[in-house]
């Protein structure tokens, strides 16, 4: 899977073509040879591309890379490579109870459209109150318990309208 790089609202693909004797990368539909690279994640860098030396500064945050090259700052998304930091491990259609407990309060109702991370209900188990949040954007199909209702471990508390093919 090639690296996907977002720059100026465009997505450009980049990939390694070969590694020896010199690193060769493809950017879009063109290939380039990288002959020298002293390029830390953050700090000043020096890299030689197709025989020409570029120097500047680089700084990486979790989401973006900032670069200062030839008196101009560029901010692009961190290159997401094949497998690098794949964080979205899927999203369930149901929120189940990890422990038996009772519903303390409800913040959603059947049919509500909710955003990922939005708190849907608060439950209490073993004297501990826990806020349960939406695992993904979606529509609530059913809230299975009322406030103050007890539930068992593994009970489905909230179910989402399943995603249609093509939503994902």
């Amino acid at each position: 899977m090639p690296y996907q790089i977002n720059i100026d609202d465009r997505t450009i693909e980049a990939d390694i073509v070969k590694r020896k004797p010199l690193l060769r990368i493809r950017i879009g539909d063109r290939e380039h040879t990288i002959t020298e690279a002293n390029c830390p994640a953050s700090g000043d860098f020096e890299i030689m591309i197709d025989g020409k030396v570029y120097r500047g500064w680089r700084y990486a945050t979790a989401e973006e890379v900032y670069m200062r090259i030839n008196g101009r700052t560029h901010i692009i998304s961190v290159p997401r490579g094949p497998g690098a930091g794949a964080g979205d491990t899927g999203s369930a259609d149901e929120i189940r109870a990890d422990m038996p407990g009772t519903v303390v309060s409800l913040n959603c109702a059947d049919g509500d459209e909710v955003k990922s991370g939005q708190q849907l209900l608060t439950v209490e188990s073993m004297k501990l109150q826990i806020g349960l949040v939406a695992p993904r954007d979606g529509v609530i199909e059913k809230v299975h318990f009322e406030a103050n209702a007890p539930f068992d471990r593994g009970a489905t508390l909230v179910s989402f309208v399943p995603l249609e093919d093509g939503d994902k």
Partner: protein, 490 residues
């Protein structure tokens, strides 16, 4: 002379004040919210006191805590900087009552100039030109009739407002009533004061302001004008002194008006009188700011005066250290405000972290900043991070120096307007000095970042990849002979 001054502010202005205090051998006390605990102003000051608050800005606005901090550290003066409590008459009064010197004007002047309507009337009374205007005294119908007399286009503003909130431009008569209603309701919402007034709208206006100093006993000098016409969302981004292409006669008139107003107010300490200047050479009083301005450094560089030092001397009861005839403008200075924002996305404020910073240096380059590497840029405070000021013998000299300095300025980790400002400096119309407050809107398209060349794109993407740990593993840690064989398949 004051012995120890507490700076009731943060960021670049706190650092700026501390620097002068150090030069003068006066002790300095910084105050800070937890979020600023490692900020440069805290490190620079001799002492520091932590303030608490629900939100960070609330801490810096908490008068009781600030007075307690003065008592605790034995500070005998308070410098309010700009923003926060700098134009809060109540604060100035409380400070004074506590026996601490407020480094700023007396309470009456703050109150007078703090009210847009009163200050205009005061100016008019003393012969300072004000834009034809009308204010609502009775019914809305009467006000509409009064406003009509000003002629169009006109501007509706909130009496208690500023920063463009509640402001409406009215081009035709039939838009008037609706605009007034909307402006009034906005004013009510923002300032809990629904009063509005109407004034003549000057087309392609320039923002000219005059720096003044008064000793509170009637002695007032001006330190010439500044031009602050390069604005976005009614906020200044580029300021300079002197104003380009300004005839000496007009300059004298404007400065003289400012001094007349200041004297009439029996003004003490530093202040700025702001005017609107039309293309016809007519100028109108806008307002007076009873504090040190963000853009004061351009005056300092051109006139050769440390304004903070003068403020402290005045607050210490020492009077002015020079006469008007001692002052003259030499050369040209430009200041740009470095802000955490995305100019290409309608100046949307941005947050992040000052990850890598590399400052431009050289003769005539001044950096007023309160930031350092590693510092977080949060939405808690204003988006202005620092100011860069360049001095040259001529305006062209100062502009090209600024363009170069911005090119050398590295600040990575938060989006900034550095490159945008660089493009402003390179703009031909800007270079010609034909400025007005609509400049950035008129030239918005030409000031957008140019598209990347193929070579730039290659350099950017290569650098992004080569500095990425995952990419490096993939590029350099494939075992042999696989790396040498490359993309072969049987």
């Amino acid at each position: 002379m004051l012995k120890k001054v507490l700076i009731a502010n943060r960021g670049e202005i706190a650092c700026r004040v501390i620097k002068t205090l150090k030069d003068m051998g006066i002790g300095s006390v910084a105050v800070f919210h937890h979020e600023d605990r490692a900020a440069p102003h805290v490190q620079m000051a001799d002492e520091s006191v932590q303030l608490t608050g629900e939100v960070p800005t609330a801490a810096y606005l908490d008068q009781e805590q600030i007075i307690a901090a003065c008592k605790k550290t034995g500070a005998d003066g308070v410098h309010p900087g700009y923003g926060f409590l700098s134009e809060n008459a109540g604060f100035a009064e409380t400070i004074a009552k506590a026996g601490i010197a407020f480094i700023g004007p007396n309470t009456d002047a703050i109150k007078l100039m703090g009210d847009k309507i009163e200050s205009r009337e005061f100016a008019a009374k003393h012969g300072i030109p004000i834009a034809p205007s009308a204010r609502q005294t009775g019914s809305l119908e009467d006000f509409i009739k009064e406003a009509e007399k000003i002629g169009f286009p006109l501007l509706i503003k909130a009496s208690a407002g500023g920063g463009g909130k509640g402001m409406k431009i009215v081009n035709k008569k039939d838009e008037l009533e609706e605009s007034i209603r909307v402006a009034a309701s906005e004013a009510e919402r923002y300032f809990s004061d629904g009063r509005v007034y109407a004034e003549k709208l000057v087309v392609e206006p320039r923002h000219i302001e005059v720096q003044v100093l008064g000793d509170g006993k009637g002695d007032v000098v001006h330190l010439f004008e500044r031009e602050c016409s390069i604005q976005r969302r009614y906020q200044k981004v580029v300021e300079e002194s002197p104003a380009p292409n300004m005839q000496a006669k007009l300059r004298d008139e404007i400065c003289e008006s400012a001094v007349r107003l200041t004297k009439a107010a029996n003004y003490k300490n530093a202040g700025t009188v702001e005017f609107i200047l039309g293309a016809d050479g007519k100028f109108y009083f806008l307002e007076m700011n009873t504090r040190l301005q963000v853009e004061h450094p351009v005056t300092e560089m051109v006139v050769g005066v440390d304004l903070v030092a003068e403020q402290i001397k005045i607050a210490s009861g020492m009077g002015l250290s020079f006469k008007q005839s001692d002052l003259k403008q030499t050369g040209h200075a430009i200041e740009v405000r470095i802000c955490a924002e995305r100019p290409e996305k309608d100046y949307q404020p941005a947050t992040g972290r000052v990850g890598v910073m590399h400052l431009p240096t050289g003769e005539g380059i001044r950096f007023d900043g309160g930031i350092k590497e590693g510092q977080a840029v949060t939405p808690a405070f204003d988006s202005m991070l620092a100011k860069l000021i360049c001095y040259g013998t001529t305006r062209a000299d100062a502009v090209s120096k600024m363009e170069e300095a911005l090119g050398d300025f590295v600040l990575l980790g938060v989006p900034t307007n550095i490159d945008f400002l660089g493009r402003v400096m390179g703009n031909d119309v800007f270079k010609s000095g034909k400025l007005h407050t609509g400049f950035l809107t008129d030239h918005a398209e030409g000031l957008m970042p140019p598209a990347l060349t193929g070579e730039e794109e290659t350099a950017v993407i290569s650098t992004a990849l080569l500095g990425d740990a995952d990419f490096r593993v993939s590029a350099f840690e494939v075992p042999e002979p696989y790396a040498s064989i490359g993309s072969w398949q049987n």
